[in-house]
Symmetry: C2
Subunit: 506 residues, 2 copies
């Protein structure tokens, strides 16, 4: 996307060599700098008083050679001045503010490239494990502020870590773009989330005007603009919008589907003319916590697994550490492999005679991967529920729109549950529809990518509200046929094998 047109970062630096004032030129300091920027074609509309305060000293510290930082988030604004030439020190912070994890990427706004990436557990999990517990916590006096500061501190901490890694100062981070679901955005901004989870489910706001880092205690350049990507409503947040941006689906004529599996699963269908979204709690089984040996995609997680001849497993592990569990992509792999090798039947039940890898555990029969890492029939059942919910949601949404899977030109798969899901495995368990594999495009963390894109492209910024207003939200559970479709999908790959014709060929 960025390759095809000129990069236009939200914040840019300009180096100015100005003439010092004389008896014949008593232009004040601010107007002198603005005139210099006008010479670069920049017509500044606003200078905050905090920047005016820095100017007299900054101008005289290096003989009227100065680097001006200009925000283009709305009207051009002078957000910082530094003495000397500091063009190289201009970074943006892309933030995926997840319910469970926060991931930050430091973007070099001069080159457009990533400088470093870091993640941390969202400290709000210590206050309330899930979203509802946190919303409930806001009923306590100071509860909302506590959640707000936890998120701000987490992002500030990651920003500092990234700055240290890159050898720059947090003051060199001159803008931030935050992508999160509707409730996370509310927590981050200190907005009462109470009405999000209570009928008729109304957020405080869908669009958030940009504000300054100092307004929300974010430890980057104080006047840095902070953009929180807009929600579409209570159930479709800025993270989904980020996915739409990252996929580019709203720029295309052909119809795309985007599936984003995080703590929740969201599905978007559409093209440049229309976009339909639906959401559901499909994700937990893939994020760890529900599956016995499941874990987040983090060092120690098995992320890819295969069952070789003799039913022995082979796998790869994230990081140079011993395996500690399996992340979502491995769980999908393993379910697919167990089914492919005939170790489980279509209902997900083990056929034990075949190998000693199938063991008896307290939780019933299980496949032993390595050490303590096992995959039980209960786990398989949970995973089948998840895949059935996903496939049913895809079926319902496309049916309601009036298209078939064959009408899909591109199928984007995003999620933080593993670096990349293997589309063929997901198809083979009936989680994703049986369409040509070439149509699947893996996006990874599309929430982070969308925030990243926005930092680098003012055209994207201008399109955000337009795209957000295009999205229609559909309530899935309101569909009459949902439950019977769901039951039919609780089989590997599906009770109706004709829906997965390519699997017969194998």
């Amino acid at each position: 996307l960025t390759g095809s047109r000129q990069m236009t970062p939200l914040v840019k630096k300009y180096f100015l060599r100005l003439m010092p004032p004389t008896d014949d030129d008593k232009t004040p300091d601010v107007e002198r700098v603005l005139a210099g920027l006008q010479g670069e074609g920049i017509d500044i509309k606003y200078v905050p008083v905090s920047v005016v305060r820095k100017l007299p000293e900054a101008l005289r510290a290096d003989d009227f050679e100065i680097t001006a930082t200009v925000s283009f988030l709305s009207e051009p604004e002078l957000i910082d001045v530094e003495s000397g030439e500091r063009l190289d020190k201009n970074f943006g912070l892309a933030v995926d503010l997840g319910t469970t994890n926060t991931v930050c990427s430091l973007i070099d706004l001069k080159t457009g490239g990533p400088a470093a990436e870091a993640s941390a557990t969202n400290p709000q999990t210590a206050i309330g494990e899930d979203i509802l517990a946190r919303i409930h916590h806001c009923l306590n006096p100071g509860g909302l502020e506590e959640l707000r500061l936890a998120a701000a501190d987490c992002v500030s901490g990651l920003a500092e870590k990234l700055a240290n890694q890159t050898g720059v100062s947090v003051n060199d981070i001159s803008c931030a773009c935050i992508s999160g679901n509707t409730t996370m955005a509310h927590f981050f901004l200190g907005l009462d989330p109470y009405n999000i989870c209570r009928a008729p489910y109304v957020p405080a706001a869908n669009r958030f005007d940009a504000f300054k880092a100092r307004d929300i205690d974010l430890g980057i350049k104080p006047e840095a603009p902070v953009l929180v990507l807009p929600n579409v409503g209570s159930y479709v947040g800025g993270d989904v919008l980020a996915g739409i941006l990252a996929s580019g689906m709203a720029d295309r004529d052909g119809i795309s589907i985007l599936v984003d599996v995080g703590t929740n699963a969201e599905i978007i269908v559409g093209n440049r003319d229309w976009l339909v979204a639906c959401a559901g709690a499909a994700g937990p089984a893939l994020e760890g916590g529900v599956v016995s040996s499941g874990m987040r995609a983090a060092p120690g997680a098995i992320d890819r697994i295969k069952i070789e001849a003799g039913y022995e497993p082979s796998f790869s592990v994230i990081g140079d550490v011993p395996p500690a569990g399996m992340c979502g992509s491995a769980l999908i792999d393993l379910l697919a492999e167990l089914f492919r090798t005939g170790l489980i039947d279509g209902r997900g039940k083990f056929i034990p005679a075949k190998t000693k890898r199938i063991i008896e555990t307290e939780a019933g029969l299980a496949y032993s991967v390595t050490g303590d890492i096992i995959f039980t029939e209960k786990d398989i059942e949970n995973l089948i529920r998840t895949k059935a919910a996903m496939y049913t949601a895809l079926t319902v949404i496309t049916t309601e729109i009036g298209i078939t899977f064959n009408d899909i030109e591109s199928f984007f798969v995003a999620g933080t549950f593993g670096e990349y899901i293997a589309a063929d495995k997901a198809v083979s368990i009936g989680m994703l529809p049986d369409i040509p594999l070439s149509k699947f495009k893996l996006l990874g963390n599309s929430s982070l990518k969308g925030a990243n894109l926005t930092l680098l492209d003012r055209e994207t910024l201008e399109n955000i509200d337009k795209i957000a207003s295009m999205v229609t939200y559909k309530e899935l559970n309101a569909s009459a046929g949902f439950m019977s479709l769901y039951r039919a999908a609780m089989f590997l790959p599906h009770t109706d094998a004709s829906l997965f014709p390519s699997l017969h060929k194998i």
Copy 2:
């Protein structure tokens, strides 16, 4: 000025009766309020996050009846929301931030009328009596911030006093306009004033973008926009611009002169097409401190004085208190009366034989007004210096422009040294030129009036920068003939009596 066109206050309140959200209308809180305002013809461009934070509760506290406060200082911005109908509670604060005194007027933005006025000694005087001492104080670490906070506290204190007097809350003060000289504006904003008093005399800024009250610790509505009137340069500040606004001279075809005597004296000449300014330290003698029984125009100050038959004085006193001294207008009266009655000669020397009111003091001969209040030959000498400086400045500036006093259509006299100077008395001592008395227009505190006008009129706001950019500053001391003209003016009314023809008729 405000009478001739519709009042357009910088901040306006709107009462909205909104529909609560339903299953069919899940419009978020912010967008719901913005839609309501759009129904009133207001297209809001910005909502600060602090206002979004208040919205969910404010909307639901009174069944979605809400009062929205909108700033029109730049693009329309929603600066507050309150539950219920609060249209009457909308005030602006006009501030004359003087070197010695701060005067605040609380303006009812609904009616346009003044609600209350209060003044206080500028607490910066305790840090440094004059401007130069304060600029010097800024060389100490934290010195500038100390001066800034002193000014902010002073204005905040006056705002609270005015709110209490009017029976409203400081949160009902939803905008402020500050008028002060260039250095005072720098102190108020925390801008380094060092280069103002050092060649080539360059301010940090001439134009100040509006900022929020919370940005400068001003105790009014936190998101209230605060406008500091622009300077023309180091020697012509926003207070002079306020005078130009208050006089309306920049709207006229005919040429006007505006004389503003505060701690300094400023002169502006011009019309709608051109404006020339000059300034000088002419004022101290009229503000107390220099003259032995001089004092500020405050309770206890004699503000008007006459010498009756038998050389006995009659006078009026500000406030219902015994006289404690004489303010500037009384000093001018008394000098004029002493000369008219022949108690002093043209050089300002007493002719003692005439009355026992002329007494011997340690400081030489003096006229005894009442009690300890006397007017010495030394005082007269100081006052003659002041009036000579003023007349010389008027002569030089008009001569340099190429006009005569007869070309003047209106002569505005402003100043805080007394409620109103008596123009005829000022002419009779040769301080002001001998033009028809009907041409003199007394403005009182034009700095405060200009700030007041700006709060009520967006057209004025739009014209401010244009007017500021029209003003040319002329250095008076640079005029070759200044000193000889000054010496010639050191006589009552003037060594060249032909300059004051009307006085011969008396």
